[in-house]
Symmetry: C2
């Protein structure tokens, strides 16, 4: 009532209060969204999927995905900043690999969801 965000009168104040108390800190939810954002790009998912199988250098990944070295390097930077990949230098060549087991877990959970026999369509038309 008289609220500046919603003109509705039907507001369940008790529910809102309860949820407000139970919800994680705003900052935590922000960080969570930032993490998922990193996974929310086809190129990055492909890179992660590739590194899931083997350590690879920038050049290998570019060739594998048929993309430019620059594009791959830019995305690897994002993955590095999110600490999802590690890198190891060997002369001029930089080898990338997955940083930890969490990625596999998150990744596989997502895959299960996708593969569920429910006729999903993520068309954001």
């Amino acid at each position: 009532m008289g609220d500046e965000f919603c003109s509705c009168d039907i507001v369940h104040e008790n529910v809102i209060e309860m949820v407000k108390k139970k919800m994680p800190q705003e900052e935590k939810l922000y960080d969570l969204a930032e993490l998922f954002k990193v996974f929310g790009d086809t190129t990055r998912v492909k890179i992660i999927s590739a590194l899931f199988e083997a350590e690879m250098c920038v050049c290998d990944i570019a060739e594998l995905l048929h993309m430019t070295q620059s594009a791959i390097s830019h995305q690897l930077r994002v993955l590095r900043q999110a600490r999802l990949v590690k890198h190891r230098k060997e002369g001029k060549v930089v080898f990338y690999s997955l940083d930890d087991e969490h990625i596999k877990a998150i990744f596989n959970q997502g895959l299960e969801h996708i593969l569920e026999p429910r006729g999903f369509e993520y068309a954001i038309s």
Copy 2:
């Protein structure tokens, strides 16, 4: 060598071939990225986090998050299309709730990752 995407000579063909064979279908990876993309927005994460606690109507969510009814409604549409939320009508009021258990799983995996005592910073600066 002579590749159109990378000017490097150091390409590990055997690794690339191996990875290429093992990687999931391109389409699956695309769908996976689309799923994560839905989780990759603060507003949507907040909505999911709220519905994690209780079923709520559009108006409740708008008030809880201090956002307009329109903004919330638009985001609920995205969540609906990704089949992450269900809705139930009761007169003029539409109640939303989480669609299934997978969300909790994916969500919590992400939180664990975030909460790991490693000094994470997802600053995409």
